[in-house]
Symmetry: C2
Subunit: 279 residues, 2 copies
């Protein structure tokens, strides 16, 4: 197992580190201090049951109760290793070349584009099972920042190995296509939200989307989810300011649409939220 266990070196883009943003409400993003980042060869922690990447069958972790249409594919048992990344660390820099493809095992992260002047637009939130950056072993340069929101654990695969095992099976293309189409559909949905909905609608849509995603993955039962997002994350995802987000969320709570407490969010009135989205 001749694996490079060292973290891919980061050409420190200090300009991003403390993104010298517009207000003190900007979250400080901390550049990856290698000493904080833990790589382990230890056997994977088995979050895999809820991992959509399960379908790819590239993970050596074997604890997979999920049965899907794709389980007929043999298990590829690719080599992989785990990496733990503390909250707020940058997982991936844009233009950083990497020989590995990573899948999130636990925690929340986001991918974003950061403009030269510090403005930031979050493109997507990543959860257990999501592939970091764009889904493909044929492109190993990210166009985006990927940043840990909570502590995150990753499982990393070597692109070349993934590529090899993929080229052996034609149906892999279908699976990748499906994952890609899903991601693209989410991007399109975001475009519609930003282009054609007002603040209220964008935020309501985001909340419903996150809840649905976590429920679909079996990471939530009932209508309450863990919610580590700061209001500034919501602002950066919806194209609003943190101040405005605060006002809208306040409204939502006063109208008993949602309830936020202890870093968790409960949806009290999904129909109400849906109505706001449809606007």
């Amino acid at each position: 197992m001749e694996f490079d266990l060292k973290r891919i070196p980061i050409e420190s883009e200090k300009s991003i580190v403390n993104s010298s943003g517009t207000s003190r409400h900007q979250l400080k993003i901390i550049d990856g201090m290698p000493s904080d980042v833990e790589d382990t060869l230890a056997p994977p922690k088995y979050y895999c049951a809820t991992c959509p990447a399960n379908e790819l069958n590239i993970c050596e972790a074997n604890n997979r109760p999920r049965t899907t249409a794709f389980q007929r594919l043999e298990n590829l048992h690719l080599n992989s290793y785990e990496q733990r990344i503390p909250a707020r660390r940058i997982i991936l820099h844009p233009k950083e070349y990497s020989e590995h493809m990573s899948i999130i095992c636990s925690g929340w992260a986001f991918s974003a584009i950061i403009l030269p002047d510090g403005r930031k637009q979050i493109l997507s939130f990543l959860h257990s099972g999501d592939v970091v950056s764009d889904v493909t072993p044929w492109m190993n340069m990210s166009r985006k920042h990927v940043v840990a929101i909570t502590d995150v654990t990753l499982r990393k695969f070597k692109c070349s190995e993934v590529k090899n095992s993929f080229s052996k099976r034609v149906d892999m293309f279908e699976i990748i296509t499906k994952l890609w189409a899903e991601e693209r559909a989410q991007a399109d949905e975001l475009i519609v939200s930003l282009g054609r909905r007002r603040g209220e609608g964008r935020i309501a849509q985001l909340i419903l989307f996150l809840m649905k995603k976590l429920v679909d993955r079996g990471m939530v039962t009932g209508q309450t989810m863990m919610f580590p997002l700061r209001q500034s994350h919501i602002a950066d995802a919806t194209g609003l300011t943190a101040v405005h987000v605060s006002k809208v969320l306040g409204d939502f709570q006063r109208k008993d649409l949602i309830r936020i407490e202890n870093r968790s969010l409960a949806i009290l009135n999904a129909e109400g939220l849906q109505r706001i989205v449809a606007s």
Copy 2:
């Protein structure tokens, strides 16, 4: 050549036809009257020189002066046929099942998501060489509307044939990945624009983007391009209203940044526009 020359039947979604929009400035989209749509077996008109799909080498048309990294692939000479579609016709309905993959040979079109209440968000503009809907022969259901802006000619390939010839060559993965990444990067750029730029910036960005795209494809020399877009198209692409677009474009012209006349647009001051984009 047992090809189905009939147009894929359209389950007429009349609700869309005259999208009963918000104002009389909504463009009327005309549902495809089959009699207006011309299919021909005639040999392809040779727009292929500027066709990026050239790289895919799936087209039977042989007139291809472009030399690219991918020309080493043999010509696949797939069967195809041409279709002409008049301006304003719907080329593709969302959820419409199709066995064909189409590439634009001439004309302008757009892909968009239309909300139940008639609001419309344009996701991308399509030009000669662009693949209609999402790039993949493994998904034959569109999630979007695709609508002709000017008269458009398409060349249509059978998904199954494309799929077959693709599975024979591993490097196709890479080509498709590249096309896909390009499209995705454009979507991300749009997200940033809608989320983090004001009207001015969004419009300036769109103009620069379109110019660059057409120049890259050799469809434009100099700084003047054919510009068949109505202001309402720009509005639907930038998440603004047609009225506001009119005011901003007026501004741009008064400041000698651009000049629009006779359905053509000249960029007089690219740096100025760029400065507005950076805001």
